[in-house]
């Protein structure tokens, strides 16, 4: 519709204004070129601004600590000593193992439960669904400050403070944020898929696993990346629940460097780089599906 309208319109303008066409087109081309230069100039400047702290992080990690604040941007004698020291000064591999354990379990649990719950909210009609979903949205708004202390007391009653359970077990109930995102995605899928499955005699959970799940891949990747990042990053929860140095996650261990090694900046920077690398690898591996999943889950379509 829009297309045909437009072509009719452009035809009529072409026949009306023949002569100034060429100059107009030249002007337009010059304007477009100026716009492109401005746009890419601005984007490059912004990208440089965003990458600068990153570059500083990497360069500092290659300097001896005494040189970090010296005013030389580039290391005079690049060294990997900081990286070596990270592994000898602290049980970093142990922390990596702890973090991976918590992170992977969290992702698996939260993806499985959130998908099932979102399916219920998006695709199965039952009484009270609207009210329950409103409660779910409200519970997402509930500030962490309100539940932090009582939740700790419950884990304490269960005798599980000091173990990894409080860091991931709650994910078995799903997460309201991911349920919300997945629900948007479910709604965008055609109802025919479910109806066809029903006619073939499949139960609702057969339909979910057999028909809908493959289509959900982008959304699942998006929330898996989010959750992986959230757990990899998380500092407050491990800080509250873990006591032994050998039980630390990477975040907690990295934070303990500040006090334990008296602001040894080269060491801090090297450890920070090491902790960031897996996230960057994850992002590059998942990038395409991650972006797809995001665009379908944030509610602009469907």
């Amino acid at each position: 519709m829009a297309f045909s309208q437009q072509s009719i319109l452009s035809q009529s303008t072409v026949s009306k204004v023949r002569e100034p066409e060429t100059t107009n087109r030249n002007n337009g081309r010059r304007n477009a070129a100026i716009q492109a230069i401005l746009l890419y100039g601005l984007l490059s400047a912004l990208a440089a601004l965003f990458m600068a702290p990153f570059a500083w992080l990497i360069l500092s990690s290659l300097k001896p600590s005494s040189e970090v604040f010296s005013g030389n941007l580039l290391p005079t004698e690049p060294t990997l000593d900081n990286y070596r020291n990270v592994f000898t000064y602290a049980p970093v591999l142990r922390w990596l193992g702890n973090t991976l354990l918590v992170t992977v379990l969290s992702v698996i649990l939260v993806v499985c439960s959130s998908v099932v719950v979102a399916y219920g909210f998006a695709r199965l009609r039952f009484r009270g669904r609207g009210v329950l979903f409103a409660v779910l949205l409200a519970s997402y708004m509930l500030p962490g400050a309100v539940t932090m202390i009582p939740t700790f007391l419950i884990w304490n009653e269960l005798g599980l403070v000091g173990t990894f359970f409080p860091l991931f077990l709650g994910n078995i109930f799903g997460s309201s944020f991911y349920i919300f995102m997945l629900r948007q995605f479910f709604i965008s899928l055609p109802q025919d898929l479910i109806d066809a499955g029903r006619l073939d005699g499949a139960g609702y959970f057969r339909i979910l696993v057999g028909i809908l799940l493959p289509l959900l891949r982008p959304a699942i990747v998006a929330i898996a990346v989010f959750e992986f990042q959230a757990k990899w990053d998380d500092f407050l929860i491990p800080l509250i629940y873990l006591n032994q140095r050998s039980d630390f996650t990477l975040s907690l261990g990295l934070a303990s460097f500040k006090a334990d090694f008296d602001m040894d900046w080269g060491l801090l920077m090297a450890a920070s780089v090491l902790m960031t690398i897996p996230m960057i690898i994850l992002f590059f591996a998942a990038q395409k599906l991650f972006i797809q999943g995001l665009s379908a889950s944030t509610g602009i379509k469907g």
Binding site: A2, Q6, L39, Y40, L43, A47, F50, P53, F54, W56, S60, F69, G71, V116, V117, G120, L124, R125, F126, R127, L132, L136, S139, M141, P143, A145, V146, T147, I149, P150, F152, L153, I154, N156, G170, F173, G174, S176, I179, R198, G203, Y204, D233, F235, L236, S251, L254, A255, L268, M269, S272, V273, M275, M279, F283, I291, L294, S295, T298, I300
Partner: protein, 312 residues
Amino acid sequence: MATMPVRRPGSPSKKSRNTAAREESRAGWIAVSPWIIGFLVLTLLPMGWSFYLAFTSYDVLSPPEWVGGRNFTNVFTNDPIFWKSVRNTFIYALMYVPIHLCTSFGIALLLHQATKGQSAFRTLMYLPAMTPAVATSYVWLSILNPNDGWVNRALRSLNLPAPLWTVDPAWTKPTIVLTSIWVLGGAMVIFLAALQGVPKDLYEAAKLDGANAWQRMWAVTIPILSPVILFNLTVSTIASLGVFTQGFIIFDSRGGPENSALFIMMYLYRRGFENFQMGYASAVAWVLFVIIVSVTILQFVLSRRYVHYDQA
């Protein structure tokens, strides 16, 4: 049973429709039951218990001791540090949320225009969001070092005033804001994805009506994107009220010079996990609950007027 009506041919559906509906309803309840249980166990139960604890004195080791409304009286009349942390958090949120939304939206608009190299630029600007918060805090703590940090070196070489970022109480909150703005990638990719979903013919129509780029943004882009803007507004508001890691790493649990970077979560951490005043901390959490829920409701009532939902 005996009076069961004879089933007329052609209408077998009513009963089977009923069983189908019942089956669907049962599947629905089973599907959402994990969340319901989680809500009861991890939200309602803790809240109920903390409501009781708010009227007690409780140090985790010995059983809670009933003290009546004393905790609440103390919160309101005898705890300036708590109110300072509330004030700090709201000032921080009022600085962070608008800057964060405008910057991430602006960058997404630029990226959306850039047809060539879009994914490269997007990746570069998303990378900081992949950096763990503890690492981010270290990076900015060193860059903003008042004497030897690169930001102040640059400002001084341009003969501009160089603020004492981490030392001057007036500048500690902007320090945390800068640290948080750097990681705007999440909001940016969400805006960008949304921009790519705006129907092209709307822009064509606006162009034909003679709207310039600025008018097209206000008349087309922003109304269509308003649900996504509200989404990012909500997410960033919640994040800003929960700010903890940056303040804790850049300063410590005391929140920097004159408590100027003491945020709500840091205050609760101190009360609960450094002083073990769980009863008092519960009372504080309930006061916060009332404050934050009122602010959230206000935000929604105000935003409802401006948010446009597509009927389709």
